[in-house]
Symmetry: C2
């Protein structure tokens, strides 16, 4: 090809403005399907290669967002963040962004990864998952004015209970989360409704925002029903064997529970083993394990073995994250997150979306 | 900061050459851990931000590789490619590359995605998953000299049976695959060893490279054992309900099988339902379902319910993909894939790695 093909050449052939060609390349969602097709045909026919590096120097925008991919853990719960990642990639593409991955074994290493990524790529933003108390990552990014959204609340200073308590670290960044306490409360209330009075809980050790939130859903629901949670609570690190041991400990108590609510499907699988329904049970119509068990996250394993579990709206959460980022990056509302905020009564403020999970009832409880 | 911080400033502070700083940024695996740390400390202390866009224009290299993320399917088998993605991201990082994601509902759309990605980013290479007969994607990339590796063999013209048959499409690109026929043969042989003589197969409809390969492992093993596979083969699209229907059909035949080998864990879960062991069974020591069932992929669901299944070495496959890409991009052997090739007798040639899966025996068969 002798003549250099430029955006102007493409625009001429597709009979559109240069701005429209630029939009097809940078923000395809802004361009009508039909026009987009015509421009893409012209790009293809002319063999045009936009030079991202050159363009980036002009626009200062890479249209790249970075998200951490977790090391695969026990394979049961890991699927939750995988499903979130699928949703995020699709929502990002629809909004004209691409997702770049990185790994980090712990929050300190993750901050090092930010530093290295920002040094090497002109990233537009980060999506953080798994927020924790006093999250050093959000503080680091905030200090440096790097745009980000978290899938998970800031646990230090939730918007709901704002300033009084604390003076420092105003964690007013955009976030999307699923109301874990509400999910566990739904599971607990259903067990109450089906006649259970001694309902145990197996959750993670105190000190994680997500874990403490889920535990509170069980605890508060029992109190509200006039029941005493004392002696019915067990803490265990996440995992099948840990869940089994904790459930066995509960069942060995003087007044064992008739139902066990678990903070994850991994723990619940272990609990099912402890109650004598290993990996399922003879599931004739209406047959149930003697001690009811519920999980959290509605993983494929829960679906396969008939475990009642709490389902997070992960695709919606991912779409909300992208909408909030687009709000920050493009400085404009594009219907999405704003739409969630308006239509969803659980939302808690501008740039902050709290979604409600749903209970999926199966044979286990 | 008044003075502009450059690579030279960083080099001076870290007492290394500018080339070493550049290597830390572009090819960290080439730099000794201790030196890398010193350079990173200098970068951090000086607040140096490498401008990737500017650097890219100099080096013509983005150190970005792109891989497609699949839409979440039934959640059982999808986890295989998720696990591959985790391994790929980690192996890529170790080699100084980042992974960018894209989605595409079908091969045609995937080629459009290549076009759009190459137009928007100076990608170094693609990792393709799920190769098929006459793969249009590999042909497209080959024509345009875009570096890529496939996780999956070229099914048209496998290196093993090379040129004679065909004239066109010499699919001599780097690939990594897992020997599915071998995995299914391992499952079938074990059933033969434990006394089964009528062993059925539930696999995907003929016409997919992966599916046909897995079926051949069952078929050829029966023939080798002097057994007739006639009437014992059922085809079904992947899925729980499909597996159940196909297994019921097998069991309703005049001479039903005593064991069913399945091409996926999804199909196997359905088959377990059909043989009366829904989602597991009362798994006392030595207890087994009446009709043995085996799956493929060793998903978390298989682990949870005690399904015997074939396990793919996914982390190793991902690491091999990165090694092969690094061979192409850096033009140098760095031990990894070369190591695999040398040590693994199943390997089939330069740039092509065929890995052996392993059978994980559990209660189901």
């Amino acid at each position: 090809m002798a003549e250099k093909v430029t955006i102007a050449t493409v625009a001429r052939r597709a009979r559109v403005s240069r701005q429209t060609v630029s939009n097809v390349l940078n923000a395809p969602h802004m361009v009508r399907e039909e026009t987009r097709e015509r421009v893409r045909e012209a790009i293809s026919a002319l063999g045009y290669r936009a030079n991202q590096a050159a363009r980036q120097m002009r626009t200062g925008r890479s249209r790249l967002i970075a998200v951490r991919i977790e090391p695969t853990r026990d394979g049961v719960n890991g699927s939750v963040l995988d499903r979130f990642l699928h949703g995020l990639t699709e929502a990002a593409e629809a909004a004209g962004y691409r997702v770049m991955l990185y790994t980090a074994p712990d929050p300190r290493a993750e901050i090092d990864a930010y530093d290295s990524l920002l040094g090497a790529y002109d990233l537009d933003a980060f999506v953080l998952t798994g927020t924790e108390y006093g999250d050093a990552r959000t503080a680091w990014l905030t200090e440096r004015d790097v745009p980000f959204v978290t899938f998970g609340r800031p646990w230090d200073n939730p918007a709901e209970t704002a300033p009084q308590g604390r003076t420092a670290v105003p964690a007013r960044h955009p976030w999307v989360d699923v109301n874990g306490a509400d999910g566990v409360a739904q599971a607990t209330r259903r067990l109450l409704d089906t006649g259970h009075r001694r309902i145990g809980f197996v959750g993670w050790p105190a000190g994680s925002g997500v874990g403490d939130d889920r535990r509170s859903g069980w605890h508060d629901t029992l109190l509200t029903a006039g029941l005493d949670p004392t002696g019915l609570d067990r803490a265990a690190p996440d995992g099948f064997a840990q869940g089994e041991a904790a459930a066995r400990d509960l069942l060995a108590s003087a007044e064992p529970p008739t139902a066990i609510v678990c903070a994850s499907d991994s723990l619940a699988l272990g609990a099912l083993q402890a109650v004598g329904a290993p990996g399922g049970w003879p599931a004739g119509p209406g047959q149930r394990p003697e001690v009811a068990v519920t999980g959290f996250d509605d993983t494929p394993v829960a679906q396969a073995i008939g475990l009642t579990s709490v389902s997070q709206p992960l695709a919606q959460a991912a779409a909300c994250c992208v909408d909030l980022l687009a709000d920050v990056l493009d400085g404009s509302r594009r219907g999405g997150a704003a739409g969630h905020r308006r239509s969803d009564p659980a939302s808690s403020g501008p740039g902050q979306v709290l979604l409600r999970p749903s209970l999926v009832v199966r044979q286990s409880g």
